[in-house]
Structures are given as structure tokens and as C-alpha cells.
């Protein structure tokens, strides 16, 4: 075997692996798109499930998912942004505190999502909710049970690393000259951050939010026992009510519903909606990030 053939073979193997990845993506998207689009309709998106979940739509799931990610962002994004600011503006890259915070962020990103669910149950529901109940409600079971607030808090913790990483990248892209100029004009560090640095990285923060939302919309394991419900007759009324969720709906309908075979259409269509949602979010994040990079190069 001469060198040329060997070279072709070596390159062929790697190219084949890359091709395999592409085919995988196309296969998954194609299947879900093909089966999902056929049973999708306007009524499906705007109606509640009917006839014992075997007919009707997924409107409550869409509302529940939206409420969850909204609450999650409201809680998680400020915390993530501030941590990123701390990491990039307040401490040296090599300092010990920065190292440890960074390590814990990385660890946080690596913890299995189901463990976050356990933490939500043990800390938020049992400890936090239980504490609230015994303090303010005389032990009456009010907060010490799964609800949308605890699920959102759990999810916020899960998506924290996503926010931190993208905001940090955005902060790094703000030219150092801007900071120096602002400081030289007599602005304090905080004034510089608030009035000069942050306005220049809103796109980056937005990217972080979108990525976090996309992750939060698709993740099911952490909410399995911190707030999601199989079926609810009404939409969530407040922070202490449970909610329905697109991802959980897919899981439950595909594995535990009364009529698994008969509801294939619903399952595929729900999956399709979930995919469409996360993709829209991801693509806008990719687009924004490209814009950000373009601007920072100029």
C-alpha cells in the first residue's frame, strides 16, 4: 500500500466520522419533523389536552414551559451576569478566588441534571419550603411541595454556568481602551462597569439568556420532582402551583400514558414543538454571537 492510498484512507476515516455526525443530526431532525409536522395544527397549539390526554392540544405545556424559563431567567441571569463581572472585572485571572470560583462554575456545569433535581427537593422544597411553612403557616403544607418557584430556582442553578460563560466572553470582547478611558476620566470602577462596559455587551448577555432559556426549556430531569405535573385542569395560578412542561409531556406520553400507541401523533407533535422552540432560541443565540464577534473584530 503506497503512501497516497494510506493518506486517502486516513482522511477518509476522519471525513466519514464527520459525515456520520451530520447524518445523525439529519436523521433525528428529519424523523421528528416528518412525523411531527403531519399531526401539528393550530388547535393542537392552543387547546388543552382532552379525553384523558388522548386528544386535544398542548397549550398548558407551552404556557408552563414559558413560565418556567421566564422565572428561571429572572432569577438566574442577574446572578450569572454578576458572577461573570466579578470574574472578568474584579479579580485577576490567576488569583486564588477566581480559580476557585471558576472551578466551581465548571463543576456546576458538570453535575448531572438529576442531582440538581435532588438538590431542589432536599434544599428548596424540604429545607426552604419546610422552613417557610413552619415559620409563617404554622406547619400547614404550603411551600414544602413541588411548585413552579422551586422548579425555576433549580433550573436557574442548572443554567448558571451557561450564563456565566457567555457573559464572560462578551465582557472579554469589550476593548480595554474603553475601560481605561472611562477610569482616566475619573469614573469609579463601578461607574465604568455600569455605564461603559455593560452597555457594550448587552448582546453577549442576551446570548447568555437565550442559551440558558434553550437549555432550561429542554431539560426535564431537574423538574421531575420539583414541580412538573402530568396533567393539570388549569394553568399555573401563582408561584405555588405546579405546571405542565413540553419535555415532560413527551416523556410521560411516550412511556406512562394510558394509551401510548394511540397518542403517537401527540408525542411526535409535542417533540416537534419542543425542538422548534429550542432551535429558534439556539439559532438566535448563534446569530447574536456572530454579530458580537464581527463587531469586536472591527
Amino acid at each position: 500500500m503506497n503512501k497516497k492510498v494510506k493518506g486517502m484512507l486516513a482522511m477518509g476515516i476522519t471525513a466519514f466520522s464527520a459525515l456520520l455526525c451530520v447524518l445523525m443530526v439529519l436523521w433525528i431532525l428529519g424523523t421528528v419533523g416528518w412525523y411531527g409536522a403531519s399531526s401539528l395544527s393550530w388547535e393542537f397549539l392552543t387547546q388543552a389536552p382532552t379525553e384523558g390526554m388522548t386528544a386535544g392540544g398542548i397549550f398548558p405545556c407551552i404556557v408552563g414551559t414559558a413560565a418556567l424559563v421566564l422565572l428561571m431567567s429572572v432569577i438566574g441571569v442577574p446572578v450569572g451576569t454578576i458572577t461573570a463581572i466579578y470574574l472578568s472585572e474584579y479579580v485577576d485571572r490567576g488569583s486564588i478566588v477566581a480559580k476557585w470560583v471558576r472551578f466551581s462554575v465548571n463543576t456546576l456545569a458538570g453535575i448531572p441534571s438529576i442531582v440538581f433535581g435532588l438538590f431542589g427537593l432536599g434544599f428548596f422544597i424540604q429545607f426552604g419550603g419546610g422552613g417557610l411553612d413552619s415559620l409563617f403557616y404554622g406547619g400547614k403544607l404550603t411551600w414544602a411541595q413541588p411548585n413552579i418557584l422551586w422548579a425555576s430556582l433549580t433550573m436557574a442553578l442548572l443554567t448558571l454556568p451557561v450564563v456565566i460563560v457567555s457573559v464572560e466572553e462578551a465582557l472579554r470582547n469589550v476593548p480595554q481602551e474603553l475601560r481605561s478611558a472611562s477610569l482616566a476620566l475619573g469614573a469609579t470602577r463601578w461607574e465604568t462597569i455600569w455605564k461603559v462596559v455593560l452597555p457594550n455587551c448587552t448582546t453577549g448577555i442576551l446570548t447568555g439568556v437565550i442559551l440558558a432559556v434553550s437549555r432550561g426549556a429542554g431539560e426535564v430531569a431537574p423538574i421531575l420532582f420539583t414541580g412538573v405535573a402530568y396533567f393539570l385542569p388549569s394553568l399555573p395560578q401563582g408561584l405555588d402551583s405546579q405546571f405542565m412542561h413540553l419535555g415532560y409531556h413527551v416523556y410521560v406520553m411516550a412511556t406512562q400514558s394510558a394509551d401510548v400507541e394511540g397518542t403517537r401523533g401527540i408525542q411526535y407533535a409535542t417533540t416537534f414543538v419542543l425542538l422548534a422552540l429550542t432551535f429558534t432560541l439556539n439559532f438566535s443565540a448563534v446569530y447574536l454571537r456572530a454579530q458580537l464577534r464581527k463587531r469586536s473584530i472591527q
Binding site: K6, A15, S17, I28, V97, P112, G247, T278
Partner: protein
Amino acid sequence: MDTRKEIPEGLRRRFRPSDWIAAQIIRLVAVTSLIMIFLIMLFVVREAAPVLKTQSHHGAELSKSSTSSESGEESTPAGVESYGETPAVQETYGEDPASKDTSAATTAAVQDDPYGTPGGSMSADEIENTKVEEVPPFTFSNLFSTSWSPVSSQAPSFGIWPLIMGSLKVTFVSLLFAAPIGILAALYTTTFAPKWTRDFLKPIIEILAGIPTVVLGFFSLMILASLLQNIFGMDYRLNALVGGIGLSFTVIPIIFTLSDDAINAVPKYLTEGSLALGATKWETNFLVVLPAAIPGIFAALLLGLGRAFGETMIVLMATGNAAMLDPVLTNPVRTLSASIGAEMAEVVVGDLHYSVLFFLGVVLFAFSFALNAIAEFYIRARMMKRFKGI
């Protein structure tokens, strides 16, 4: 210090409360993420604490029971009394009807799979085959018995070996697929591929990374499982192989992205030096670039491994969820994470079962934490040294 004296009073940096407060708040919030790690560990361990107590408490009792289990045909009267009694020992002999009952109950009661792995009796046979000598000498508690049947009516047993075995099997399969594909695809993207291919491949992988795991689980359950069964004609439609391949969909993007970074970080002069010495492009890429990136790739594998080990939704939907202790890849498995996911919603808070599930969480947490720490400190340091040393 000297220069400071020369600065006139009015130009000196003043102490501003607002600035100081802002800095303190920011620091506080940032350190919260550090505290969160401890809190997660603390509270998961706290809820699991009853298990650890039981474990030490029943140690002596257990060794007694396992020596006498030879004679104990009927496990029911002893088993109900205390949690510490291990029914697993009696169960696995499998001759008496009671044992068949319990192991059938394991598969039936905790079954999430609508297709049902064909019958509980089959899995009872499987459990019979795995004899007790599997139990290592340091098992001093129920927790390390060989059977997981937490909702059994006779005597619940919480042996986590089948679950760990399940997790390992699924992780092994997923890495078997994901590692070569991810690394080679990354090598192709960074070295061989023309620019337009690169610009096209990276977003594709990002798409794969962005697909929610529940969708991948659904896909594995519906499409992949049927396809594999049609091809290989396996006894069980949902098994470790299906779950593992399904998992590799999430592991590939991780391994790809991190390997890509590692290969990109290999200094250009290595490539140029190799090419200048007359090596061909593929020789350079495979024999110079790839070995140089090994520490980074190893870190990628570790993080991929951690992801596969802890992933929940895919394995929950696509592995059949029957706790069996055997190395056969085409049998259904129940993993640590899937057990938590499937059973946590049904347990009574504060129950032993509840605590055991939290203990599984502790195992998962410890595993991912260890992997992350290794990847973070050891590998990074090695990579740095290596590139500086070259």
C-alpha cells in the same frame, strides 16, 4: 509609596461608599456559586444520611443473616422486620417461589417501558444466574447486595450494584461510539477539512448539542430501538445498547468540541516542523498533532464520560429499566440516574427508599465531581507542562 506622597490631596483616589458596596455585593454573589457547590453536596448528603446510619448500624446483623441464609428458604418473616436484613442473599438462590415473585416485582413494578421487556420471569432467570459470590468482601450492608427491588412487598432490598453495573454498561457503549466518532470528526474539522466544510460542520454539531435530551430519548425509544431490533433481532427491544447509542448523541458534541479545542491548541510550529521534515499531511495529523493533543482529548473523554454516567432522560426512556446484574449489553438495564428519576416521585419523604435514592445522588455527584476535578487540575497542568516543555 514614594510616588503616592507626591500626589496632591485633591487628586488622590477617594474612598467611595457606593463603589465599595457594589464591589462587595458583586463579590458576594460570585462566591455564592462556590457556596452552591457545598450546599448541593451538603443537602444531597443530608437527605441520604439515614442510609449511612443504617449501614453502620446493621452491619453485624447482616453478616449474621447472610451466614444463616443458606437454611432460610422462606425469606418473608425475617425480611419485613428490619431494613438491614438483606433479602438479596436468599433471593438470588432463586429456587423458592418467593424470590421469583420479588424479582418479577422488580421488573414489573418499576417498569416505565410500555412495550415491556418480555415478562418478569425472564429477568428472574437472569438474576438466578448471577450468583451471590459476586458480592465483594467489604459489603457490610443491604446497600451493597446484588438486587434492587425497593418496592417489593416481602422485603425491599436496595442493592446498588445492578444500578452501578447498568450505568457502567450504558456509559461504556456510549463512549465506544462517541469517542472515535467525536475525536476523528474533530481531527477532520480542524486539520483536513476545507474551510467551507468547517463552517458547515461546527454549527451542525452545535445543533446536535442543542437537541434536548428528552427528544433524544424519545428518538431512541421510537426509532433507534426498532431499527436495532430489526437488524440484530435482540430479545429485548429496549436495552443497554439502545440506551448507549442514544447517549452517544449527547456525548459526541462534548467530545467533539473539547477535542477540537485541544487539537486547535497544538502549536502551529509542530505541524510546520513535521511537514518541513517531509511527513505527509496525514502523517502529520495522525502522528504529530493527535498525540500532542492527547491530554486535552483525554479531558474531553473524561467529561464525556461524566455526562454519559449522569444523563437521565435518555436512559430512563430507552434502556428498559430492569435492574439486572450481568455484563450482557443486549439486556435491559436500570441506571443510577434513571432509578432516581423514575422512583423519586413515588416515594414517601423521609422513607428509607427516599434516602437510598439520595444516596444514589451522592454517588453520581461524587463521580462527576471527581471526573471534573481530574479534568480540571491534572490534565490542564499536564497539557501546559507539555506544551511549554516541547
